[in-house]
Symmetry: C2
Subunit: 638 residues, 2 copies
C-alpha cells in the first residue's frame, strides 16, 4: 500500500498514512480531535475541513470543503482544519465555574456512606487469648460495625496488618467500603495519622455533559461542583452513533472508554484542585449514567442496547475498585454505579427517582428528564413505569447555532419587550454573553412565541414589527445580541433551524409523556407532582416550559424543577446505604415501556410539533394566557 | 564509601561492593546462593568459603577459611565458594521422581472442588423478558448452583459477557471458584471450546521441604507428585532464623517470599510438564504450610510468631487469586490456604488432622507430625488440643552427614546383621545409594541400638564387634556403605553427631507428647489411634519408631503411619467444600498448649535423650524386646 503525506493547517502538523485512510483517521493520528458528532457517518457536517483547492482529492466532489469522515486520502494533501478545531474546542470547553446550583446542601446520609472510617480497638494478644491477628481484627471490626455479612481484605493490607496492629497498640483506624454483601477493607492505619480519608465524588455521566460534585462525606458538605462536555461526543452526538462506532471501528470501544474516562478524570482533578486536595484523597465515587455511558465507562461492549429488546449489560453492578475502572482517584477507592432498568432507562434515571423521592410517595408523580435522551417515569411507592424517547441534545445547547451549556457567559434568562424591540437578558457570571443555554433557549422560545414573532408551527413571522429578524443565507434568524453589544464578540442569534430543533425535542418528550400516561390509563390531572430535570441550567422558567408544551399543563404548584436530579441522586447514594438499597429496589421494580412498540407514538409526536400542541384543549392555561397576551400586544412592559 | 572488587571462584564471577558489605551479600549480588542455614548468624558453618591466603581480609581471623555471613569486605578479594556452592546444590537438589507414595488415590470429594465448571443455560431476552445480561446470568447461575450466598464477577469477565452470551446462544460454561461466602466467576465461555479447566494442585510447604500433587479434580485422579527442597532454607534452617532474617535484612522479607515462591512455582511447572499440561491449565491451588511459611509465601511480616504469645498473622485467610499470591499457574485461579491455629501449629497440621479424620472420630487419637518442627495433636470429635516442639530437620535428612530427602538414591531401609557385620539396604529407585533419608535413619538407629553398637545414651560402643566403626577427625562414625560398594561414589556414614541430632529430635517430640498428655490428664493407653506423619519417606518402620522412643509404646495395631498427612489434607480440601468447612472448624476449635510455659518440658526433654527413655517402664514392649535381643546376640540372622 502506498503512503501519502497529509499536512494539517494551521500549524503544519504532518502525518504519513496509507492510501485510503480517511482524513478523520489521519487527523486523529496527528493528534487532532475533530468533532465527529454523528459518529463519522457524514451526517452532521461538523468535521468539515478545507482541502487546498488545487489539491482536492480526485474522488471528493465540490470545491475545497469536504467532510473529513467521508474523504479518503489518495495523494499528498494540505488540509485546513481550523474551523473544525474551533468547533471541537467550543464543544469541549472546560467549565470551572459550573452552574450546578442547588447543590450546596448535601443529604446528611445515614452514617453509612460508600466509604467510611471506623476506629477499631482490640485487646492485645496474650497466651490465653492468642487468636491470629486477622481473626482478632475481624472480630473487633464486626463488633464495631455489626451489619456486614462478610469482610474482605486485600493481600497488601493483610501484609501490613501485624505491624500496624502492634505499632498502634491494637487501636487502628479502618477505612471500609460498603460493597453490599461485603465490606471491603481499604486500609488499616494507626490513629492520628492525619485526617482519615473522607472525600467522595458524585458523578452524572450524560451523553453530552458530565457533571460532578466533590463531597466531604463525614461533614455532609459540598466542596464544589463542575461540569464538562463529554469528550466521547467527538465520536457521535447520541448513544446510537457511539454504539455503531464501537462496533464498526477496530479501536472504537477503547476510544470511547478512554474519552469518557478522560472527561471524568479531568473533572476529578479539577474538583480536587479547587478544594485543595489531591485526587488520591478521594476514596469513593458514586456514578449515575445512562446504560450506554455506564457500559463504555467500564469498557463493556453494548451492541445489545441498539437492537430490540435493547438489553443493557448489567442492572445491579458490583462495586469496583477505582483502579479497575480507571478512575484517577485513590486507586483502592470504591466505585458505585447506579444500575440500569433497560438499555434506554439507565442509572441516571434511577438516581433521579431517588433524588425526587417519588419511589417513597403515596401520591402519583411524574419525572421528566430532558437530556440527549428524554426519559419519563411515572408512579409512586406502589409501582413505577418508565419510557424513553430520543429528544436530542438541543436543550443542552448542542446543535444550536449559539448554544452552549449552562456556564459562564451563557444567556440563561431572556425577556423580549415588544414595545421597544429590546431584550432583557441575564448572563451566567454577569460578564459579556457568549451563547445561550437550555433555560435561555426555552425562555427565548416562549417570549418570542408570546410576542407573535414565532407562530404556533414554530416559524418566524416575517411580518412581526421587529428589526431583529434577518435573513442569513437561506434561513431567517433572530438576533438576540449584536456584536459589540454588552461586550459580545459575535452576534448571538436564534435561527429558524434552532427553533425547529428545540420544537422537535419538546415534541418527542411530550409525545412520550402522552403515550406513557395513556398506556397506564392515566390523565395529567391525576398527577400530584411533576418533576422536570435535565441540564437546562439553574433557573428553569416552569411557566415557559408549560407554555411551549414541554410538560403537561397542570397547576403550577404541582410542578417542580428538579435540576440535575441524577447528580443529586448520585450524591445521596454516596452518602447513605439506605439510599443505595433504595436504588436497587427502584431499578428492580421499575417497568419499562418500549415506545417503539406503541403505534400511536409517531402520531403524538407529529401532533406535538406545534406550540404548545395541535390540540389546545390540552393546555387550558396556555389558551387562556394567549388570549391575554394577544390583548396586550403593543403595550410597554419591563 | 569506597568500593571493592570481589572475584568468586570457580568461574571468575566478579562483583563490585561497598566497603563493609558481607561476603554473603556480595555473593548474593553475584547471583551465588550460599547455604545460610542458620540465617546468616555464624552458627552453622555451611557458608564457609576460602579467601585466597595472601588476601585474607585483615579483620578476619584464621587461615583462608571464613564464614561468608560473618566476614566483611574491606579490600579487593578473590574467594573460592566451591564447597559452599556444592553444599547448596546438594540441599537444593531437584527430585523429579519424588517418593510421595500413597497418593495414587485422590479423595472423591463432594462435587464442590475449589474450582469447578458448570453449564448455565438462559432464555434469550425478549421485549417481555428484557432484564440486563448480568441479572439474567446471575439468576441462571443461582438456579444451576443454589448454594452460594453471593456471586462475584470481575470487570474483564463482565466486559466480554454480552458478546459471549450472544455468540453462545445463551448457553455458557462458567468456571467458579468457591471462596466460602462468595462464588467467584473465573471465566464464562461458549461450550465446547476444548475441555473446561479441571486441574488443581495440592501443596505442603514445609520449612525444609515442599511437596506437591497435581490432580484432575473432575476425575479425582492423581496426575503426579513432586518434592523439592524449600529454597528459602538458604536463609536459615528453622523458622526462627528466617523470621530474624526478615526482621534484620532490608530485603529479607522480599527474599524469603521470592525463594519459597520459586520453589512452589518450580514444582508447579514440573508437575504440569510431567502431565503434559501448561501451568495455566492449573486453576486451583490448595496449600498447607506452617504459619511462618504461609506468612512468607504471602509476603506478610511475621515477627509476632517469634515472640510470646506467638501469634500468626492470620487464621482463616481469604481465597486469593493466583496473581495476587504470585503463583505461576492460571493467574485468575483460586488459592486456598489452610488456616493456622497458632504461630507454631499451622495450616499443615490442620490439614493433617483433616487427612486422618481424627476430628470426626469418637475415639481419642494422637497425631505426631515430625518435621523441622514437631507438632502433636490429641483429641476427638469432641475436642482437639495441640502443641509444638522444636524437633529440627534431622529426620528430613538435614544436618546429617549423609542425610538426604526421600528420593532416588536414598537408603530407606537398613538392617544390620551382627553375625556377618553386613547391612541389608533398600535404596529408593534401586540404583546406587547416595545418602540416607528419614526412614533409613530411624531404622539404622534402631538396628544399631538393637545390636548394641549404639548404647542407651546414644554413644557408639567402641568395643562392639564390628569393623564398620572408625574415627574420622574428632568423632566416631559408622560406615553404612563404602565408596565403590553398590556403586556408591562416596562413603555413606552415620556419625556420632548424626546420632545426637536424631536423638535430640526424637527427645523433643517425645517430651512434647508426654507434657501434652499429662496436661490433659491422659495416659498413653487411653489413645485409641496414634498417627505418625512427616517427611520420613514412604516405608516408616513403626516398630523402630517405638523402639527408639519416638512415639509412645502402645499396641502396634493402634499405630498408623500417615505419611505426608498435610499434603493429603490439602488434596482433600482441593476436592471438597465439606473438607474446607471442616478445616475452618478444626482451626477454630483446636486449643493450643504453649510448651515453653510448661516448667516440666525441659525435664522431660532431658529424660528423653536416652534410647528409648530414661524410664524404661514407659516402654514395656521395648524392655521385653531388649531382653530377647540381648539373648540372641551372636546368632546369625538374615
Amino acid at each position: 500500500m502506498s503512503a501519502h503525506t497529509v499536512i494539517f493547517e494551521p500549524g503544519e502538523r504532518c502525518v504519513s498514512v496509507d492510501d485510503g485512510t480517511t482524513l478523520a483517521d489521519a487527523a486523529a493520528l496527528a493528534g487532532i480531535a475533530l468533532p465527529l458528532s454523528c459518529g463519522g457517518h457524514g451526517a452532521c457536517g461538523n468535521c468539515g475541513v478545507l482541502v487546498r483547492a488545487d489539491e482536492t482529492p480526485s474522488r471528493s466532489g465540490g470545491k475545497g470543503w469536504v467532510l473529513a469522515c467521508q474523504t479518503r486520502v489518495h495523494e499528498d494533501l494540505v488540509v485546513d482544519v481550523g474551523r473544525a478545531e474551533r468547533l471541537a474546542a467550543q464543544l469541549d470547553e472546560s467549565v470551572s465555574d459550573a452552574d450546578v446550583r442547588g447543590f450546596e446542601a448535601v443529604p446528611a446520609g445515614d452514617g453509612h456512606p460508600l466509604v467510611r472510617a471506623l476506629v477499631v480497638r482490640m485487646n492485645p494478644p496474650t497466651t490465653q487469648d492468642n487468636s491470629p491477628d486477622l481473626s482478632r481484627f475481624r472480630t473487633a471490626l464486626r463488633k464495631a460495625d455489626p451489619e456486614p455479612a462478610s469482610i474482605s481484605i486485600s493481600l497488601p493490607t493483610l501484609q501490613s496488618l501485624p505491624g500496624v496492629l502492634r505499632r498502634s497498640g491494637f487501636e487502628v483506624e479502618v477505612v471500609l467500603a460498603d460493597e453490599g454483601e461485603v465490606s471491603r477493607v481499604l486500609s488499616v492505619s494507626g490513629p492520628g495519622r492525619g485526617s482519615p480519608p473522607r472525600h467522595g465524588v458524585a458523578m452524572d455521566i450524560g451523553t453530552t455533559t458530565v457533571a460532578g460534585q466533590l463531597v466531604d462525606m463525614t461533614q455532609a458538605m459540598s466542596l464544589g461542583t463542575a461540569v464538562h462536555r463529554n469528550a466521547q461526543a467527538q465520536f457521535g452526538d447520541d448513544v446510537i452513533s457511539r454504539i455503531l462506532r464501537s462496533e464498526e471501528h477496530p479501536t472504537g470501544l477503547r476510544d470511547l472508554r478512554a474519552s469518557v474516562l478522560g472527561t471524568v478524570n479531568g473533572l476529578i482533578r479539577q474538583l480536587a484542585r479547587s478544594a485543595g486536595l489531591r485526587p488520591t484523597d478521594i476514596v469513593a465515587a458514586s456514578i449515575a449514567g445512562n446504560a450506554t455511558m455506564t457500559s463504555f465507562l467500564l469498557g463493556i461492549e453494548a451492541p445489545a442496547i441498539r437492537r430490540a429488546p435493547h438489553v443493557p449489560a448489567a442492572g445491579d453492578l458490583p462495586v469496583f475498585r477505582a483502579e479497575e475502572v480507571g478512575l484517577e482517584m485513590n486507586l483502592a477507592g470504591a466505585v458505585y454505579l447506579h444500575p440500569a432498568v433497560s438499555g434506554f432507562v439507565g442509572g441516571d434515571i434511577v438516581a433521579g427517582v431517588l433524588a425526587t423521592g417519588m419511589d417513597e410517595s403515596a401520591d402519583l408523580s411524574l419525572l421528566i428528564d430532558v437530556g440527549t435522551n428524554g426519559e419519563i417515569v411515572v408512579g409512586s411507592s406502589e409501582w413505577l413505569t418508565c419510557c424513553s424517547c430520543s429528544a436530542g441534545p438541543a436543550f443542552e445547547g448542542v446543535g444550536i447555532e449559539a448554544g452552549m451549556q449552562a456556564s459562564r457567559g451563557a444567556i440563561e434568562q431572556v425577556r423580549y419587550d415588544a414595545s421597544t424591540d429590546a431584550l432583557e437578558l441575564r448572563v451566567i457570571g454577569g460578564g459579556p454573553p457568549a451563547g445561550i443555554c437550555g433555560t435561555g433557549l426555552l425562555e427565548a422560545l416562549a417570549t418570542l412565541f408570546e410576542a407573535g414573532i414565532i407562530d404556533r408551527s414554530g416559524l418566524f413571522n416575517a411580518d412581526a414589527p421587529t428589526r431583529r429578524l434577518r435573513q442569513s443565507g437561506y434561513q431567517t434568524e433572530f438576533v438576540l445580541v449584536r456584536q459589540g453589544e454588552l461586550g459580545a464578540v459575535l452576534d448571538i442569534v436564534l435561527t429558524q433551524a434552532d427553533v425547529e430543533h428545540l420544537i422537535r425535542s419538546k415534541a418527542a418528550v411530550h409525545a412520550g409523556i402522552t403515550v406513557l400516561l395513556r398506556a397506564l390509563g392515566l390523565r395529567a390531572e391525576q398527577i400530584a407532582k411533576v418533576y422536570i430535570a435535565g441540564g437546562f441550567g439553574a433557573h428553569l422558567n416552569l411557566e415557559a416550559a408549560v407554555k411551549l408544551g414541554l410538560i403537561p399543563d397542570v397547576p403550577a404548584e404541582r410542578i417542580e424543577y428538579a435540576g440535575n436530579s441524577s447528580l443529586r441522586g448520585a450524591c445521596a447514594s454516596l452518602m447513605s446505604r439506605a439510599a443505595r438499597e433504595r436504588v436497587s429496589r427502584i431499578a428492580q421494580s421499575m417497568t419499562y415501556l418500549e415506545l417503539s412498540g406503541d403505534p400511536t407514538f409517531m402520531d403524538e409526536y407529529v401532533a406535538s410539533m406545534f406550540l404548545p400542541h395541535t390540540d389546545l384543549s390540552r393546555f387550558p392555561s396556555v389558551r387562556c394566557w394567549r388570549r391575554r397576551s394577544q390583548a396586550s400586544v403593543g403595550q410597554s412592559r419591563r
